[in-house]
Amino acid sequence: MLEHPLTMWQQMESLGYTRRDFLRFASWLAAAAGIEASGIGQVVHAMETKPRIPVLWLHFQECTCCSESFIRSSHPIVADVLLDKISLDYTETLMAAAGHQAEKSLHDTMKKYKGEYLLLVEGAIPTNDDGVYCCIGGRSAQDILTEVAEGAKAIVCWGSCASNGCIQAASPNPTGATPVHTLISGKPIINVPGCPPIAEVMAGTIVHLLAFDRIPQLDGLGRPKAFFSRRVHDTCYRRPNYDAGLFVESFDDENAKRGYCLYKMGCRGPVTYNACGVMRWNNGVSYPIQSGHGCIGCSEEKFWDYGPFYQHLASFPGFGIETTADKVGVALGIATAAGIATHAISTNIRKRKQIQQEIAGSDTIADDTKGGA
């Protein structure tokens, strides 16, 4: 760990990057973070003058796909500078230290930069049975999180696990997996859901924190608005097919070849807030829908519980996997129609006398000899 943390620019310089590389990088970051062109100066200035923010990256119940995504960011400098050289004081998967050394490094940073460091959390936290389902260095994830969160300036929750529980929290959630925001309060918490989140979205969120030293605008679920204010469906290039009612009916039909909308294949684009349609994945190469598969809604809470993925409606709880609300509704409709028919028959039997009396009591008009019946 360095005694006097360098600025981003100093770090890059020492790694042999030119001023031009640096400026290019700054404008790329600004664009990724959704900052307008006039804000680039601010980003450059911040990276020239602000010492790096110390960063602690904790891993709990996760699969490391968030880290994997991050280090595949389309800009090499992200991995090189942001992640590798500059920021990370502690991260189980990437740091050189191990065992006691690693624990020491964690505690040194916590002590030295109390109230200043940024805490990144990847993974959910099990709360059942005193949290035995995830222990590091003999301590439960919840213990570690509570301790490290205490002195953090802000917490960024990487991925759906830390933001909303993801697969660990899927029903019946045996380990009691819980997202960070339900366990920690009193700290700014930024949720960056996705399984994993897009690398540029991760980088963009960090850059915003670095450059502006404040929390980006968040929506009702604590997600940065710059990336999560629109649904995948709103920026999907297949959208004109949706509006025209042209749908893929099965994965191997003509319509699939024509690139029609995947709505009827269970696409979750209309209910999923993410930037996939704009940023795409792997350096903007593609995203699930472009590759012919519907969105599974991986950045939305409980997306595992709304299966099957290839059905528009989730299965109705308690009725087996293929039973939708519509099937239950049709069954209830038939039952209701049967009930009505039974009631109508019963009425004609039990109310017969009353009806006959009423008819007998009908007034007759003078020249209407037959009366009414």
Binding site: D243, L246, V271, T336
Partner: protein
């Protein structure tokens, strides 16, 4: 049998009748378009997207009917405070002892037909009242979830008022799922409702069905 002396009672004022038919019409449209949104029929035309917009139109009609439905509903709530005695909100919530008694009686006489003694009330009977009250809650639920989803595609102020439902339910998927399931309440309600209107008309011979058209019910004098 002695001929009954009939009085005419003006029960449903014009605003109630307007409300009822606008409501019935918009519910019909919302159920049909909503069902189509959830399960669009297959079109195997090989067409280009730029030549069609039918699904967009179905959604547009859904939203149009939704606005009509919403304002009509708000208007009925208002009328529940200023309308005549049959239109007032007191008829919908059985909080008095007589109302609770009547709920039991209606169940006994009309629904389970355990008793054959005729039963009448001039406005809604207490059981019908509470059923309409439950349906008003369903209306409200459908408006909240519907506008909550709509907020994501609109900049207008009205839908934004309902955006809180999305984080509360944990995301758009859950909201859409509930909104969809609730459609079936409307289908079942309408089936039973229309049947019971016909049933009462048939058994009680007081012109209940047409009361929602002209406003009048015909009641035997000795029962008033």
């Amino acid at each position: 049998m002695q001929h009954a002396q009939i009085s005419r009672v003006y029960v449903w004022q014009l605003p109630v009748r307007f409300y009822h038919w606008i409501n019935a019409l918009s519910v019909l449209v919302l159920v049909i378009t909503g069902y189509l949104i959830g399960s669009p029929p297959a079109v195997q035309s090989g067409s280009e997207a730029s030549f069609g917009y039918w699904f967009g139109t179905v959604r547009f009609v859904h939203f149009l009917a939704a606005f009509l439905f919403f304002f009509n509903f708000v208007y009925r709530i208002y009328w529940g405070f200023v309308g005549n005695r049959y239109a007032r909100w007191q008829n919908f919530i059985p909080y008095r002892k007589e109302q609770l008694e009547e709920v039991k009686e209606v169940l006994k006489v009309d629904i389970f037909q355990r008793s054959v003694k005729p039963l009448e009330s001039v406005g809604h009977n207490a059981l019908a009242g509470i059923t309409y009250f439950i349906s008003f809650i369903a209306f409200l639920f459908q408006c909240i979830t519907g506008f909550g989803m709509y907020a994501a595609m609109s900049k207008a102020a009205l839908p934004a008022l309902f955006a809180w439902i999305v984080p509360l339910m944990g995301g758009d998927f859950a909201v859409r799922q509930w909104h969809h399931a609730m459609m079936w309440f409307f289908v079942l309600f309408s089936m039973i409702h229309v049947y019971l209107v016909f049933y009462h008309d048939y058994v009680e011979a007081r012109g209940v069905t047409s009361s929602m058209v002209g406003g009048w019910k015909f009641v035997e004098k000795h029962k008033l």
